[in-house]
Point group: C2
Chain length 203, copies 2
Amino acid sequence: MREDAKTPQRHADRMAKKQKIMQERIARAQNSQGVLLVLTGPGKGKSSSAFGMAARALGHDMKVGVVQFIKGAFKTGEERFFRAQPLVDYHVMGEGYTWDTQDRERDVAAAKAAWAEARRMLRDPDYKLVVLDELNIALRYEYLDLDTVLDDLQDRPEMQHVVVTGRYAPKPLIELADTVTEMKVVKHAFKDLGVKAQKGIEL
Amino acid sequence: MREDAKTPQRHADRMAKKQKIMQERIARAQNSQGVLLVLTGPGKGKSSSAFGMAARALGHDMKVGVVQFIKGAFKTGEERFFRAQPLVDYHVMGEGYTWDTQDRERDVAAAKAAWAEARRMLRDPDYKLVVLDELNIALRYEYLDLDTVLDDLQDRPEMQHVVVTGRYAPKPLIELADTVTEMKVVKHAFKDLGVKAQKGIEL
Protein backbone atom coordinates (compact mmCIF):
# COMPACT_ATOMS: atom_id res chain seq x y z
CA MET A 1 0.00 0.00 0.00
CA ARG A 2 2.67 2.53 0.96
CA GLU A 3 4.65 1.90 -2.26
CA ASP A 4 1.93 2.54 -4.80
CA ALA A 5 -0.40 4.90 -3.00
CA LYS A 6 0.77 7.78 -5.15
CA THR A 7 -0.22 6.15 -8.46
CA PRO A 8 -3.58 7.80 -9.23
CA GLN A 9 -5.13 4.86 -11.16
CA ARG A 10 -4.21 2.19 -8.61
CA HIS A 11 -5.50 4.48 -5.91
CA ALA A 12 -8.80 5.04 -7.72
CA ASP A 13 -9.19 1.28 -8.34
CA ARG A 14 -8.57 0.48 -4.69
CA MET A 15 -10.98 3.15 -3.52
CA ALA A 16 -13.65 1.89 -5.95
CA LYS A 17 -13.26 -1.61 -4.55
CA LYS A 18 -13.52 -0.29 -1.03
CA GLN A 19 -16.66 1.67 -1.93
CA LYS A 20 -18.25 -1.52 -3.30
CA ILE A 21 -17.42 -3.45 -0.13
CA MET A 22 -18.87 -0.68 2.03
CA GLN A 23 -22.06 -0.53 -0.04
CA GLU A 24 -22.54 -4.30 0.10
CA ARG A 25 -21.96 -4.29 3.84
CA ILE A 26 -24.54 -1.53 4.38
CA ALA A 27 -27.07 -3.27 2.11
CA ARG A 28 -26.67 -6.51 4.08
CA ALA A 29 -27.25 -4.82 7.43
CA GLN A 30 -31.04 -4.82 7.62
CA ASN A 31 -31.81 -5.37 11.28
CA SER A 32 -32.53 -2.39 13.44
CA GLN A 33 -32.35 -2.99 17.16
CA GLY A 34 -30.78 -1.83 20.38
CA VAL A 35 -27.15 -2.79 20.66
CA LEU A 36 -25.35 -4.02 23.78
CA LEU A 37 -21.76 -2.81 23.68
CA VAL A 38 -19.03 -3.88 26.07
CA LEU A 39 -15.79 -1.91 26.35
CA THR A 40 -13.20 -3.81 28.34
CA GLY A 41 -9.47 -4.52 28.62
CA PRO A 42 -6.69 -2.66 30.44
CA GLY A 43 -6.14 0.17 27.93
CA LYS A 44 -7.26 3.78 28.28
CA GLY A 45 -10.47 5.01 26.70
CA LYS A 46 -13.23 2.67 27.85
CA SER A 47 -15.26 5.19 29.86
CA SER A 48 -14.30 8.03 27.53
CA SER A 49 -15.68 6.03 24.66
CA ALA A 50 -18.96 5.43 26.49
CA PHE A 51 -19.22 9.14 27.24
CA GLY A 52 -18.43 9.97 23.63
CA MET A 53 -21.34 7.74 22.60
CA ALA A 54 -23.50 9.63 25.09
CA ALA A 55 -22.50 12.90 23.42
CA ARG A 56 -23.30 11.40 20.03
CA ALA A 57 -26.73 10.24 21.23
CA LEU A 58 -27.41 13.73 22.61
CA GLY A 59 -26.56 15.07 19.15
CA HIS A 60 -29.56 13.02 17.99
CA ASP A 61 -31.74 14.40 20.84
CA MET A 62 -31.90 11.00 22.52
CA LYS A 63 -32.47 10.66 26.27
CA VAL A 64 -29.40 9.17 27.96
CA GLY A 65 -29.07 7.46 31.34
CA VAL A 66 -25.71 7.11 33.07
CA VAL A 67 -24.92 5.03 36.15
CA GLN A 68 -21.35 5.15 37.42
CA PHE A 69 -20.55 2.03 39.43
CA ILE A 70 -17.39 3.45 40.90
CA LYS A 71 -17.33 6.88 42.38
CA GLY A 72 -14.08 8.72 42.58
CA ALA A 73 -12.07 11.77 41.70
CA PHE A 74 -11.34 10.39 38.23
CA LYS A 75 -14.64 11.25 36.54
CA THR A 76 -15.33 14.78 37.77
CA GLY A 77 -15.09 16.33 34.31
CA GLU A 78 -17.63 13.97 32.74
CA GLU A 79 -19.96 14.22 35.70
CA ARG A 80 -19.94 17.99 35.67
CA PHE A 81 -20.42 18.19 31.93
CA PHE A 82 -23.14 15.59 31.52
CA ARG A 83 -25.12 16.60 34.62
CA ALA A 84 -25.56 19.98 32.92
CA GLN A 85 -27.22 18.35 29.87
CA PRO A 86 -31.02 18.41 30.11
CA LEU A 87 -31.46 15.03 28.32
CA VAL A 88 -29.10 13.19 30.70
CA ASP A 89 -30.08 11.36 33.89
CA TYR A 90 -26.81 10.87 35.78
CA HIS A 91 -26.32 8.66 38.85
CA VAL A 92 -23.15 7.97 40.77
CA MET A 93 -22.77 5.08 43.18
CA GLY A 94 -22.92 6.39 46.74
CA GLU A 95 -19.52 5.24 48.00
CA GLY A 96 -15.91 5.89 47.11
CA TYR A 97 -13.44 3.57 45.44
CA THR A 98 -13.59 0.12 46.95
CA TRP A 99 -9.90 0.21 47.75
CA ASP A 100 -10.51 3.27 49.87
CA THR A 101 -13.47 1.88 51.80
CA GLN A 102 -12.27 -1.66 52.60
CA ASP A 103 -15.77 -2.54 53.71
CA ARG A 104 -17.36 -5.22 51.56
CA GLU A 105 -20.88 -4.98 52.95
CA ARG A 106 -21.04 -1.25 52.35
CA ASP A 107 -19.71 -1.73 48.80
CA VAL A 108 -22.33 -4.40 48.07
CA ALA A 109 -25.13 -2.18 49.37
CA ALA A 110 -23.89 0.75 47.29
CA ALA A 111 -23.59 -1.37 44.15
CA LYS A 112 -27.09 -2.78 44.65
CA ALA A 113 -28.56 0.69 45.07
CA ALA A 114 -26.79 1.76 41.87
CA TRP A 115 -28.15 -1.31 40.07
CA ALA A 116 -31.68 -0.35 41.16
CA GLU A 117 -31.18 2.93 39.25
CA ALA A 118 -29.81 1.03 36.26
CA ARG A 119 -32.78 -1.38 36.31
CA ARG A 120 -35.23 1.52 36.37
CA MET A 121 -33.58 2.87 33.19
CA LEU A 122 -33.43 -0.59 31.60
CA ARG A 123 -37.22 -0.84 31.99
CA ASP A 124 -37.99 2.56 30.51
CA PRO A 125 -38.01 2.85 26.70
CA ASP A 126 -37.64 6.63 26.99
CA TYR A 127 -33.95 6.02 27.67
CA LYS A 128 -32.47 5.47 24.23
CA LEU A 129 -28.96 4.91 25.57
CA VAL A 130 -27.90 3.66 29.00
CA VAL A 131 -24.23 3.89 30.04
CA LEU A 132 -23.25 1.51 32.84
CA ASP A 133 -19.80 2.84 33.61
CA GLU A 134 -17.41 0.46 35.42
CA LEU A 135 -20.16 -2.11 35.87
CA ASN A 136 -17.59 -4.81 35.10
CA ILE A 137 -15.70 -3.89 38.26
CA ALA A 138 -18.82 -4.36 40.41
CA LEU A 139 -19.29 -7.75 38.73
CA ARG A 140 -15.64 -8.67 39.11
CA TYR A 141 -15.80 -8.17 42.88
CA GLU A 142 -19.18 -9.96 42.97
CA TYR A 143 -20.88 -6.92 44.44
CA LEU A 144 -23.77 -7.71 42.08
CA ASP A 145 -25.33 -10.99 41.01
CA LEU A 146 -24.27 -11.64 37.42
CA ASP A 147 -27.45 -13.49 36.43
CA THR A 148 -29.66 -10.65 37.67
CA VAL A 149 -27.62 -8.17 35.66
CA LEU A 150 -27.70 -10.30 32.50
CA ASP A 151 -31.46 -10.87 32.81
CA ASP A 152 -32.14 -7.16 33.23
CA LEU A 153 -29.93 -6.35 30.25
CA GLN A 154 -31.66 -8.91 28.06
CA ASP A 155 -35.17 -7.82 29.12
CA ARG A 156 -34.61 -4.17 28.23
CA PRO A 157 -36.68 -2.35 25.55
CA GLU A 158 -35.91 -3.60 22.06
CA MET A 159 -34.55 -0.34 20.69
CA GLN A 160 -32.51 0.65 23.75
CA HIS A 161 -28.71 0.78 23.43
CA VAL A 162 -26.53 -0.08 26.41
CA VAL A 163 -22.81 0.48 26.88
CA VAL A 164 -21.01 -1.37 29.67
CA THR A 165 -17.45 -0.42 30.58
CA GLY A 166 -14.70 -1.70 32.84
CA ARG A 167 -11.85 -4.16 32.87
CA TYR A 168 -12.48 -7.87 33.28
CA ALA A 169 -15.84 -8.15 31.50
CA PRO A 170 -17.20 -11.54 32.55
CA LYS A 171 -17.47 -14.13 29.80
CA PRO A 172 -21.28 -14.50 29.96
CA LEU A 173 -21.63 -10.74 29.44
CA ILE A 174 -19.31 -10.92 26.42
CA GLU A 175 -21.47 -13.73 25.06
CA LEU A 176 -24.65 -11.69 25.52
CA ALA A 177 -23.14 -8.52 23.98
CA ASP A 178 -23.48 -7.55 20.32
CA THR A 179 -20.23 -5.63 20.10
CA VAL A 180 -17.19 -6.03 22.33
CA THR A 181 -14.00 -4.00 22.15
CA GLU A 182 -10.94 -4.77 24.20
CA MET A 183 -8.67 -1.82 24.91
CA LYS A 184 -5.06 -2.89 24.89
CA VAL A 185 -2.27 -0.79 26.40
CA VAL A 186 0.49 -0.12 23.90
CA LYS A 187 2.02 2.67 26.01
CA HIS A 188 0.81 4.57 29.07
CA ALA A 189 2.33 7.90 30.12
CA PHE A 190 0.82 7.79 33.58
CA LYS A 191 2.18 4.34 34.39
CA ASP A 192 5.30 4.15 32.25
CA LEU A 193 6.75 7.61 32.61
CA GLY A 194 5.42 8.82 35.93
CA VAL A 195 3.49 11.67 34.31
CA LYS A 196 0.87 13.00 36.72
CA ALA A 197 -2.75 12.25 35.81
CA GLN A 198 -3.85 15.19 33.67
CA LYS A 199 -7.01 17.19 34.24
CA GLY A 200 -9.15 17.11 31.12
CA ILE A 201 -7.51 13.96 29.83
CA GLU A 202 -7.25 11.51 32.68
CA LEU A 203 -9.49 13.26 35.22
CA MET B 1 -9.87 -13.81 43.31
CA ARG B 2 -13.36 -15.11 42.54
CA GLU B 3 -13.05 -17.87 45.15
CA ASP B 4 -12.26 -15.76 48.19
CA ALA B 5 -13.81 -12.41 47.32
CA LYS B 6 -16.53 -13.03 49.89
CA THR B 7 -14.15 -13.44 52.87
CA PRO B 8 -14.23 -9.97 54.46
CA GLN B 9 -10.67 -10.01 55.90
CA ARG B 10 -8.99 -11.18 52.67
CA HIS B 11 -11.00 -8.61 50.79
CA ALA B 12 -9.98 -5.81 53.15
CA ASP B 13 -6.31 -6.88 52.95
CA ARG B 14 -6.39 -6.91 49.17
CA MET B 15 -8.09 -3.53 49.01
CA ALA B 16 -5.54 -2.08 51.47
CA LYS B 17 -2.72 -3.34 49.29
CA LYS B 18 -4.37 -1.87 46.22
CA GLN B 19 -4.82 1.46 48.00
CA LYS B 20 -1.11 1.51 48.86
CA ILE B 21 -0.13 0.79 45.25
CA MET B 22 -2.42 3.56 44.03
CA GLN B 23 -1.02 6.06 46.52
CA GLU B 24 2.56 5.22 45.60
CA ARG B 25 1.78 5.52 41.94
CA ILE B 26 0.18 8.93 42.42
CA ALA B 27 3.10 10.13 44.59
CA ARG B 28 5.59 9.06 41.92
CA ALA B 29 3.77 10.91 39.14
CA GLN B 30 5.18 14.40 39.54
CA ASN B 31 5.45 15.71 36.02
CA SER B 32 2.67 17.88 34.71
CA GLN B 33 2.58 18.34 30.96
CA GLY B 34 0.42 18.00 27.92
CA VAL B 35 -0.14 14.43 26.88
CA LEU B 36 -0.18 13.06 23.35
CA LEU B 37 -2.65 10.18 23.17
CA VAL B 38 -3.08 7.86 20.22
CA LEU B 39 -6.16 5.66 19.88
CA THR B 40 -5.72 3.09 17.16
CA GLY B 41 -6.58 -0.48 16.18
CA PRO B 42 -9.60 -1.98 14.42
CA GLY B 43 -12.02 -2.06 17.38
CA LYS B 44 -14.92 0.30 18.01
CA GLY B 45 -14.57 3.31 20.28
CA LYS B 46 -11.55 5.26 19.06
CA SER B 47 -13.36 8.43 18.01
CA SER B 48 -15.97 8.03 20.74
CA SER B 49 -13.19 7.95 23.26
CA ALA B 50 -11.66 11.12 21.88
CA PHE B 51 -15.05 12.83 22.01
CA GLY B 52 -15.56 11.59 25.56
CA MET B 53 -12.26 13.24 26.48
CA ALA B 54 -13.52 16.41 24.82
CA ALA B 55 -16.63 16.27 27.03
CA ARG B 56 -14.44 15.73 30.08
CA ALA B 57 -12.25 18.71 29.18
CA LEU B 58 -15.37 20.86 28.73
CA GLY B 59 -16.39 19.78 32.23
CA HIS B 60 -13.20 21.54 33.35
CA ASP B 61 -14.05 24.62 31.24
CA MET B 62 -11.15 23.98 28.88
CA LYS B 63 -11.18 25.20 25.29
CA VAL B 64 -11.28 22.28 22.86
CA GLY B 65 -10.33 22.13 19.18
CA VAL B 66 -11.58 19.33 16.93
CA VAL B 67 -10.45 18.58 13.38
CA GLN B 68 -12.11 15.65 11.63
CA PHE B 69 -9.89 14.29 8.88
CA ILE B 70 -12.62 12.23 7.30
CA LYS B 71 -15.99 13.72 6.62
CA GLY B 72 -18.94 11.45 6.36
CA ALA B 73 -22.37 10.48 7.58
CA PHE B 74 -20.85 8.56 10.49
CA LYS B 75 -20.13 11.46 12.83
CA THR B 76 -23.26 13.59 12.53
CA GLY B 77 -24.23 13.15 16.19
CA GLU B 78 -20.89 14.30 17.56
CA GLU B 79 -20.66 17.17 15.11
CA ARG B 80 -24.11 18.45 15.98
CA PHE B 81 -23.52 18.11 19.70
CA PHE B 82 -20.04 19.61 19.91
CA ARG B 83 -20.68 22.42 17.47
CA ALA B 84 -23.32 23.64 19.93
CA GLN B 85 -20.74 23.91 22.74
CA PRO B 86 -19.36 27.45 23.10
CA LEU B 87 -15.87 26.26 24.13
CA VAL B 88 -15.47 24.02 21.08
CA ASP B 89 -13.87 24.97 17.75
CA TYR B 90 -14.97 22.26 15.31
CA HIS B 91 -13.62 21.73 11.79
CA VAL B 92 -14.51 19.02 9.31
CA MET B 93 -12.39 18.22 6.27
CA GLY B 94 -14.06 19.60 3.18
CA GLU B 95 -14.49 16.41 1.16
CA GLY B 96 -16.32 13.13 1.62
CA TYR B 97 -14.91 9.69 2.33
CA THR B 98 -11.93 8.96 0.15
CA TRP B 99 -13.57 5.80 -1.17
CA ASP B 100 -16.46 7.92 -2.43
CA THR B 101 -14.34 10.55 -4.16
CA GLN B 102 -11.67 8.43 -5.89
CA ASP B 103 -9.68 11.53 -6.61
CA ARG B 104 -6.32 11.56 -4.90
CA GLU B 105 -5.38 15.16 -5.63
CA ARG B 106 -8.63 16.47 -4.22
CA ASP B 107 -8.16 14.31 -1.12
CA VAL B 108 -4.63 15.59 -0.60
CA ALA B 109 -5.76 19.20 -0.92
CA ALA B 110 -8.60 18.63 1.54
CA ALA B 111 -6.31 16.91 4.05
CA LYS B 112 -3.76 19.74 3.77
CA ALA B 113 -6.43 22.37 4.37
CA ALA B 114 -7.59 20.41 7.43
CA TRP B 115 -4.01 20.20 8.68
CA ALA B 116 -3.69 23.98 8.38
CA GLU B 117 -6.58 24.23 10.87
CA ALA B 118 -4.94 21.67 13.12
CA ARG B 119 -1.62 23.54 12.98
CA ARG B 120 -3.32 26.80 13.96
CA MET B 121 -4.70 25.04 17.05
CA LEU B 122 -1.37 23.36 17.79
CA ARG B 123 0.27 26.80 17.92
CA ASP B 124 -2.31 28.36 20.22
CA PRO B 125 -1.99 27.63 23.95
CA ASP B 126 -5.63 28.68 24.48
CA TYR B 127 -6.59 25.27 23.13
CA LYS B 128 -6.15 22.94 26.09
CA LEU B 129 -7.19 19.84 24.15
CA VAL B 130 -6.98 19.22 20.40
CA VAL B 131 -8.76 16.19 18.91
CA LEU B 132 -7.37 15.09 15.53
CA ASP B 133 -10.03 12.59 14.56
CA GLU B 134 -9.04 9.99 11.93
CA LEU B 135 -5.72 11.71 11.33
CA ASN B 136 -4.14 8.25 11.10
CA ILE B 137 -6.17 7.54 7.95
CA ALA B 138 -4.86 10.70 6.27
CA LEU B 139 -1.34 9.58 7.20
CA ARG B 140 -1.96 6.03 6.05
CA TYR B 141 -2.90 7.19 2.56
CA GLU B 142 0.00 9.66 2.61
CA TYR B 143 -2.34 12.60 2.13
CA LEU B 144 -0.16 14.42 4.66
CA ASP B 145 3.58 14.47 5.19
CA LEU B 146 4.31 12.48 8.34
CA ASP B 147 7.37 14.51 9.38
CA THR B 148 5.45 17.77 9.14
CA VAL B 149 2.70 16.33 11.32
CA LEU B 150 5.15 14.97 13.90
CA ASP B 151 7.06 18.26 14.05
CA ASP B 152 3.88 20.27 14.57
CA LEU B 153 2.74 17.86 17.29
CA GLN B 154 6.06 18.06 19.07
CA ASP B 155 6.27 21.87 18.83
CA ARG B 156 2.85 22.44 20.42
CA PRO B 157 2.41 24.36 23.70
CA GLU B 158 3.78 22.45 26.68
CA MET B 159 0.48 22.02 28.52
CA GLN B 160 -1.67 21.19 25.50
CA HIS B 161 -3.19 17.72 25.25
CA VAL B 162 -3.70 16.10 21.87
CA VAL B 163 -5.71 13.00 20.98
CA VAL B 164 -5.14 11.34 17.60
CA THR B 165 -7.51 8.64 16.39
CA GLY B 166 -7.74 6.19 13.53
CA ARG B 167 -6.59 2.74 12.50
CA TYR B 168 -3.05 2.13 11.40
CA ALA B 169 -1.23 4.69 13.56
CA PRO B 170 2.24 4.98 11.99
CA LYS B 171 5.10 3.71 14.12
CA PRO B 172 6.88 7.10 14.44
CA LEU B 173 3.67 8.60 15.83
CA ILE B 174 3.39 5.75 18.35
CA GLU B 175 6.99 6.45 19.36
CA LEU B 176 6.28 10.14 19.86
CA ALA B 177 3.05 9.53 21.80
CA ASP B 178 2.83 9.36 25.59
CA THR B 179 -0.13 7.01 25.74
CA VAL B 180 -1.27 4.61 23.05
CA THR B 181 -4.32 2.38 23.20
CA GLU B 182 -5.09 -0.23 20.59
CA MET B 183 -8.77 -1.11 20.23
CA LYS B 184 -9.18 -4.78 19.46
CA VAL B 185 -12.38 -6.25 18.04
CA VAL B 186 -13.70 -9.07 20.20
CA LYS B 187 -17.13 -9.03 18.57
CA HIS B 188 -18.87 -6.59 16.22
CA ALA B 189 -22.65 -6.57 15.71
CA PHE B 190 -22.46 -4.45 12.57
CA LYS B 191 -19.97 -6.69 10.82
CA ASP B 192 -20.65 -10.09 12.38
CA LEU B 193 -24.43 -10.12 12.57
CA GLY B 194 -25.51 -7.74 9.83
CA VAL B 195 -27.12 -5.36 12.32
CA LYS B 196 -27.67 -1.98 10.70
CA ALA B 197 -25.45 0.86 11.98
CA GLN B 198 -27.42 2.38 14.85
CA LYS B 199 -28.11 6.09 15.21
CA GLY B 200 -26.73 7.31 18.52
CA ILE B 201 -24.32 4.42 18.81
CA GLU B 202 -22.62 3.96 15.47
CA LEU B 203 -23.70 7.18 13.76
